[in-house]
Amino acid sequence: MAELKIENVNKSFGETHILKGINLDIPDGEFVILVGPSGCGKSTLLNCVAGLEEVTSGAIRLGDKDMTRVAPKDRDIAMVFQSYALYPNMNVYKNIAFGLEIRKMPKAEIQAEVSRVAKLLQIEHMLDRKPSQLSGGQRQRVAMGRALARRPQIYLFDEPLSNLDAKLRVEMRTEMKKLHQRLATTIVYVTHDQIEAMTLADRIAVMKDGIVQQFGTPQEVYDDPANIFVAGFMGSPSMNFLECEVSRVDDGFAVEVVSEAQSYLLPVDPNQADLSGYEGKRVILGIRPEQITHVMPHVAEQPFVTKVTVKIEVVEPTGADTLVLARINDQECECRVHPTESGQPGEMMDMLFNMSKAVFFDPKTEDRL
């Protein structure tokens, strides 16, 4: 177990720069998730940490050792792959034992280690099966078992759940979290699924175009996104982005929204943003669907809450909530209401805009204000 330091890592293939100056400090025992759209460089970064790809510049330190030029086999790192990468010609026992055998561990110890891991992951009964005889979830467990058996300093996971069906994925997610709580080892985990990132991580690194956009706890990333990309990537359904004009009201600022030819001024919470330089200019208001709800008396009385009448365009029930698509400032805007409160498409409906968690972005730089 050790802390992992990624210092100013760059990686390019010829003219294409995949990673552009990545810096991450991951303390011992932390569960860190790299998340981002495909092609953002997250898997490349993971491969660089594993030593499967050489960095162009920068350093990777594990504990107090510089691992940058060390061969993968000598880094004491274990990795679980998206395809599981089980050796098809070996049975489960051999798959788990292979790495130990190569490291010349005595036979008896290997046996003890394999049975410990098998017990931990409840795969004892399938030790002499071949990978082809296992289901997706079982293969996933074996792949984890192979990683666990070596007791490495750090675990890397490359989209380990993405080949499982939805139900199994949720189950394995919980198990993985339990496992981390029990083992308390450093984990770097790559996924493109922001729900997985939110639920599993101690901290999330959101990546795009080879740059870490934001590195923080799931709640920080969700509530305080650094820019439009992070705000839009995290959370489902996605945050609403409405371009609107800033104007001064009595004791602060407000942004103007128009719905069905009616104009509303939504007050800005000074704790969320200081818009003093933006009076009369346009900004992008970011507001999550759950901050736009049907009228509830206890909410209506809160500060920074405004009632807006909208026309319902589309209704999407999800069971627990119903998503209502409306048109604000001529842009689509999703609202989250209680199923019983939703109207029909074409009807008018009153919505409460709660601005206490709203965020604002510069339309040009797309950075947070």
Partner: protein, 295 residues
């Protein structure tokens, strides 16, 4: 745990393992082709010698009636061989693709000639086509007294007997390629076309065959390659005769280089053969590399 540097064993081992083949490629493939090219610009006769004469060997080559005859024979043989193989192969593949009960057995029968040596094929067909004992004699014995099938001894027609034997040997192979191509087509496309009201015939002519263009292409390349290299089949079937009527560049090259002591001209003919192959191959590879992977 020992920490080895990256540039250790695993860094140079792959290169070391590949090095014999790199040497083979550099010396035996590229080196030897260049060497042959160099020879073709020399006055070499029975033994190689390096007195350069420019393009003289090529000029002599293209003034040589036997070479011109060999080239035109190759053209006739090549065009017919490729065209008939493609047609027969495609038709057989489509017929076999109709849920045929004994498909496996029929496929095995159609394809087995490809496992034979061209020498064996040539030997068998040499006697089958022989008018005094083969097919002509057989037809006459059936009572068709006036039947004549003497192409193999007729200088005008002998080249077509090469086509017959060549097609017999290679068309099953083309069938196998096309069948693999047919099986690789997304069946939902065919279902969609049938829902659109297309008949089986138009499904094949309008959708399936056009979508097999890459398969046609690679079958064409393989057949062209076989045709240009063809040597053993003709040696065994007609020996290049009667006269020189079935002469082809490969035989010309062999005889001039190794039997008639005309190394320079033999080398020149070999280079012309190589250029012909490249002329067919390069556009193919170019289009293959340019278009993203099809299927």
């Amino acid at each position: 745990m020992s920490v080895t540097n990256r540039k250790g064993l695993d860094y140079w081992l792959p290169k070391l393992v590949l090095s014999p083949t790199i040497a083979i490629t550099v010396i035996f493939i590229y080196g030897f082709v260049i060497w042959t090219a160099v020879l073709s610009f020399t006055r070499s006769r029975i033994l190689p010698q390096y007195e350069f004469v420019g393009f003289e060997q090529y000029v002599r080559l293209f003034a040589n009636d036997r070479w011109l005859g060999a080239m035109s024979n190759l053209l006739i043989f090549g065009v017919l061989f490729i065209a008939i193989c493609l047609i027969v192969g495609l038709v057989l593949a489509i017929l076999l693709d109709q849920n045929i009960r004994a498909e496996g057995a029929l496929r095995t029968i159609y394809l087995y000639p490809m496992a034979l040596s061209f020498i064996v094929t040539g030997t068998v067909w040499k006697w089958l086509l022989n008018p005094t004992v083969g097919i002509e004699r057989f037809m006459i014995s059936l009572g068709w007294e006036s039947f004549v099938f003497d192409w193999i001894v007729n200088p005008q027609m002998a080249i077509y007997t090469i086509v017959i034997a060549g097609v017999w040997q290679a068309s099953g192979f083309v069938m196998a390629i096309f069948l693999a191509g047919l099986r690789g087509i997304d069946t939902s496309i065919i279902k969609a076309a049938q829902l659109d009201g297309a008949s089986l015939f138009s499904v094949y002519t309008r959708i399936i065959i056009p979508s097999m263009r890459p398969v046609f292409f690679s079958a064409f390349i393989m057949l062209a390659h076989i045709a240009i290299k063809s040597f053993d089949l003709i040696i065994a079937l007609t020996g290049g005769g009667p006269g020189n009527s079935t002469d082809v560049p490969a035989i010309f090259m062999y005889q001039f280089s190794f039997q008639r002591g005309q190394l320079g001209m033999g080398a020149a003919s070999a280079i012309v053969m190589l250029m012909t192959v490249l002329a067919i191959l390069v556009p193919y590879l170019y289009s293959e590399l340019r278009t993203p992977k099809n299927g």
